[in-house]
């Protein structure tokens, strides 16, 4: 790269430094220090916040968060892959329209959309009105695990569909014809050619869904109610309610380390699968 192009990157480097590196450094500092009583400027180095996290109740919350994010990811994949597959098969005009339908809701504020689910799922909501009309007893599932899961899947499914769709439409039709030509049935062609070639999209989708899902706090609160506490809610509570920035930072760092480990694991499995070529975009 030549010098003038190099210089063009300076603003971005500065931006990254101010918006990512410094805040991250601050969070790290917060997580390993505690302020002395009555004196907010004197810090004292400590690992207490990390130790404090590993209490049974917190571990429980962490497990619950990971489990919810895992379920969300699995449902998004089960529902999203066929959707992406169908969209990739229809003609290009309809394709653009349907993709727009997937993106359009994302232009509306996420909280608003989640409030809408409250109305749909609630005791006197649209769903219960509907069930009452056809004489089925329905108590409403708002403030249950199912409600949270529905809200999460609804919110994150576009992030699964879009990357899978992108990899599917890039698969050369000749490859599919070649597989048929060599004797593969439709099912074998899918399992041996189409699915392996769409794996980079699947992995991207899983990351794009799992990462925000594991730390989400708005959807669980609105659809799960006040007693529904996830790791995201725990962090939020430390900062907003209890003012315990040090403990909040420590939880954030722990979560980050877990995410990095799981991403490295995903990358490793993907490398094992791709024997011939075709690597992940990162």
């Amino acid at each position: 790269m030549n010098k003038s192009l190099n210089r063009l990157s300076y603003p971005y480097l500065l931006w990254t430094f101010i918006m990512i590196v410094i805040p991250f450094f601050l969070i790290f500092i917060y997580s390993v220090t505690s302020s002395k009583e009555g004196s907010p400027v004197i810090f004292q180095f400590t690992f207490d916040h990390y130790r404090e996290f590993f209490s049974p109740s917190n571990i429980n919350i962490l497990n619950k968060s990971i489990w919810l994010a895992f379920q969300t990811t699995v449902y998004c994949l089960i529902l999203g892959y066929p959707a992406a597959w169908i969209i990739s098969k229809i003609n290009i005009r309809k394709q653009n329209a349907i993709i727009l339908f997937f993106i359009l809701p994302m232009w509306i504020n996420m909280l608003l959309r989640t409030y809408a689910w409250q109305i749909i799922l609630g005791r006197s909501g649209i769903l219960s009105t509907f069930f009452n009309i056809i004489n089925i007893k329905y108590e409403g599932i708002l403030y249950t695990d199912s409600a949270v899961l529905i809200g999460m899947v609804y919110n994150f499914i576009p992030f699964m569909v879009l990357p899978i769709f992108t990899t599917l439409i890039k698969i050369d039709d000749n490859l599919i014809e070649a597989a048929y030509d060599l004797g593969a049935s439709t099912k074998e062609t899918f399992l041996k050619i189409i699915f392996p070639l769409s794996l980079p999209g699947v992995v991207t989708g899983i990351i794009l869904v799992f990462l925000p899902a594991v730390s989400s706090f708005a959807i669980p609160r609105l659809l799960g109610g006040g007693q529904y506490v996830l790791i995201g809610n725990l962090i939020e509570k430390q900062f907003y309610l209890l003012g315990n920035w040090n403990f909040g930072s420590a939880i954030a760092i722990i979560l980050m380390i877990l995410i990095i480990i799981s991403m490295m694991f995903m990358k490793k499995t993907d490398e094992l699968k791709s024997r011939g070529g075709g690597t992940l975009p990162w």
């Binding site: 014809e177 030509d181 070639l197 070529g277």
Partner: protein
């Protein structure tokens, strides 16, 4: 030789546009058949119908006497080599070639042996574990051929397989393909727009234009006895002259009556006369049947391409003897090198 494939009255329309019209073609066992024609002539469509990727609008295809038009591609005993290779990018060389064998649930030991044998045939020994994306175009093409041949199909369909290679490699591969065909005894159906390729490799050439078969014959037939102007123009260079058939073995053009080897025309019937550039010779202008002025000379390596204007018409001559621009020269041609065709047998041009 036994009939292997019979194409009967095959037509194909795409959105009301006719791309193939009443194709009748018989392909024998162990034959190297080339479908030759300009782009858009329907040659690739025939191949895709044979492979099962397209269904014909009307007509039938018999494979060893049985109709295959309703058979899906994976149930047909033929394999395709695609123009852009279509190698599976997530599999290495070995797995690409083994793909068809694995589907047949063959034993691992046999698979290894067959793949190795194929790699030897296409001269890619020890390439098993290479990433197909890092192979050169020529190597990828060899893998594609091996992947198709390893299934021991009765027929191999090749869709312009050499089009993406450079000239030198293309010529090399032409000989190798012909050699592979001879070794394996598999019928090759080869699609190309390159007349030189067709002449070099084929047992039979099928010349197509606008969805119609123009001529079927051996390379020698097609070159020496083109049936119409299109074939004459498409295969090699030609001087096409309007003449009149005076009598059997007598044709008149350029105000001179030439002896020829054609007969059976009406007396004084207008005909098209074809003379290949290499069949014209430059002679001293006294007593020559045609006299003209040398207009241009191009050196082509093996020969000179000399343009001679006779009575305002341009004649192309290929000769090893040089001439000078502006010279007045005579042109002559041997009786057996004059090809006389009926006028107006041009199909659908």
């Amino acid at each position: 030789m036994k009939k292997l494939i019979e194409i009967k009255n095959l037509s194909k329309e795409f959105d009301g546009e006719i791309v193939l019209k009443e194709i009748d073609l018989t392909i024998k066992e162990n034959e190297f058949v080339t479908l030759l024609g300009p782009s858009g002539c329907g040659k690739t469509t025939i191949l895709r119908i044979l492979a099962g990727f397209e269904t014909p609008t009307t007509g039938d295809i018999l494979f060893e006497g049985l109709s295959i038009v309703n058979l899906p591609p994976n149930k047909r005993n033929l394999n395709t080599v695609f123009q852009k290779y279509a190698l599976f990018p997530h599999l290495n060389v070995f797995e690409n070639i083994a793909f068809g064998l694995r589907l047949k649930k063959m034993k691992e030991k046999d698979i290894v042996q067959k793949v190795k044998q194929m790699l030897k045939l296409v001269k890619l020994e020890n390439y098993e574990h290479r990433n197909v994306n890092r192979l050169s175009g020529g190597q990828q093409q060899r893998v594609a051929i091996a992947r198709a041949l390893v299934n021991e199909p009765k027929v191999l369909l090749l869709d312009e397989p050499l089009a993406a290679l450079d000239l030198k490699l293309r010529q090399e591969m032409q000989y190798e393909l012909k050699e592979m065909q001879r070794q394996t005894g598999i019928t090759f159906i080869y699609v190309t727009h390159d007349q030189e390729e067709a002449l070099t490799m084929s047992d039979t050439i099928v010349v197509l234009n606008n969805g119609l078969i123009q001529q079927i014959g051996t390379p020698i037939d097609i070159y020496n006895e083109p049936k119409n102007r299109f074939v004459a123009n498409f295969i090699g260079e030609s001087n096409i002259i309007s003449g009149i058939m005076i009598d059997d073995y007598k044709v008149k053009f350029e105000d001179y009556i030439f002896d020829c080897v054609d007969r059976g025309f009406h007396f004084n019937e207008p005909v098209d006369v074809i003379i290949r550039p290499e069949d014209l010779s430059i002679v001293p202008n006294d007593n020559a049947p045609m006299v003209g002025v040398v207009e241009s000379i191009i050196f082509k390596g093996v020969h000179y391409e000399i343009c001679v204007i006779v009575n305002g018409k341009e004649y192309v001559v290929h000769t090893t003897k040089n001439a000078t621009i502006g010279d007045i020269v005579g042109l002559t041609v041997e009786p057996q090198d004059i090809h006389v065709m009926e006028v107006g047998v041009v199909l659908n041009e």
